[in-house]
Symmetry: C2
Subunit: 235 residues, 2 copies
């Protein structure tokens, strides 16, 4: 069931019937692997597909006049992009593989015909879009202090990766380099390193060997003033 992460993701946003889930799982798609650091969609492109991330982490980014990169959003397994294309607009930004990725591509026309038969699917896509927009606003609002921004970002990743996990301690794969984190938070890698050290010394976040350990999620969320409401993942 290769598309099942997509179904899981949509189910977190809206209630889907068994038939709707089956329809999604039955969508025809092509699959391909993308190496880390390669673009999945380039700026200016007009994609003809709905792209669904099956494994790995990907990111939306833009370039500054000086050539530096700013990551403006994340794609985690089950999440999608390319929807842009419904109005045939060129991409205003690019999407890149932050780790090695596996992507599924569904032809837009095929997906549209499936969604035309289900109001819930349409609402799910809308909800995902709204959450993305809300996330952009949260990132804008939170960009005042690097330490809190970093803590908030880690909370967001945790909440998006484990929407139903109620435990207060977490340990999960965290494949980003400090350079990449810097591109996300708009700070230098040196400063990223120092802020991570501060969080480590506070006993809130330990990263090592591409694994992150959060000994006390509640304390981390408090430090970050994190409220997951903007992710619209209440279901």
């Amino acid at each position: 069931m290769a598309l099942s992460p997509f179904v899981t993701k949509l189910s977190a946003l809206v209630a889907l019937t068994g038939d709707e889930k089956q329809a999604l799982l039955a969508l025809p798609f092509t699959q391909r692997k993308i190496d880390r650091c390669r673009d999945i969609i380039s700026k200016g492109e007009r994609p003809n597909y709905l792209y669904i991330l099956l494994s790995g982490w990907a990111g939306r980014y833009s370039l500054r006049p000086d050539g530096s990169r700013r990551v403006t959003g994340f794609l985690l397994p089950g999440e999608f992009c390319g929807i842009h294309a419904v109005c045939n607009a060129p991409m205003d930004h690019a999407i890149t593989a932050l780790t090695d990725c596996t992507m599924a591509r569904v032809e837009l026309a095929v997906f549209e015909s499936a969604s035309s038969r289900s109001q819930a699917i349409v609402r799910g896509v809308w909800a995902a879009k709204l959450a993305e927009e809300a996330t952009l606003r949260v990132w804008l609002t939170n960009s005042d202090q690097a330490l809190r921004t970093l803590a908030h970002f880690i909370c967001e990743l945790d909440a998006r990766l484990h929407p139903h996990d109620l435990a207060n301690e977490r340990r999960f794969s965290f494949p980003l380099t400090q350079d990449q984190i810097g591109d996300v938070l708009a700070i230098t890698p040196v400063h990223t390193n120092r802020m991570l050290r501060t969080l480590r010394e506070a006993g809130l976040v330990i990263i090592g060997q591409r694994i992150i350990h959060l000994p006390d999620v509640a304390a981390l969320r408090a430090a970050a003033s994190f409220d997951p409401g903007y992710l619209y993942a209440s279901r």
Copy 2:
């Protein structure tokens, strides 16, 4: 023709037929004035209307944990908000009157029935939404240096207010205080003042008496690395 700014705005994004324009102008609406600094839509609300700004400037904003405000987007005459509500989601942010405003409200059901009869109107709304999203990404990407961010912001306002003006010199009403600009750029009002002085001394931007004067738009755009493509206002 009270809704004509709305028609003008949509026309800038998609081609509308005479019939479509007439249908929009014939939409029933209620009108009201909102004083500066008062909220138009609050956070958490589920608006039942499409709100169209007829005069004045409004802004989307969120509050930080410390109570300070971050403006995450602008509404200029003819632009709208409340579309959020199509999926009955609560507002993740609030909308406030940055100056005294006049707003029109159209019942969502009424607007939806009008748009169901015109694919162009639907595409116009989508295009506006995409431009808004692209703008959020540009703001995120550009938040590295206060001077360039300020110059870029002024370029954006100019481009949105005068999409068809090809002259290189501009003079127009600019009702924001330096406090408000600070809330937009996420810098202190003191620093806003200093950056404005720098732009004034460079002969790029002169603000006084709620009027802004741009003696050399091309030079300002160059200094800001401003490219209006993300506004999707090519028409």
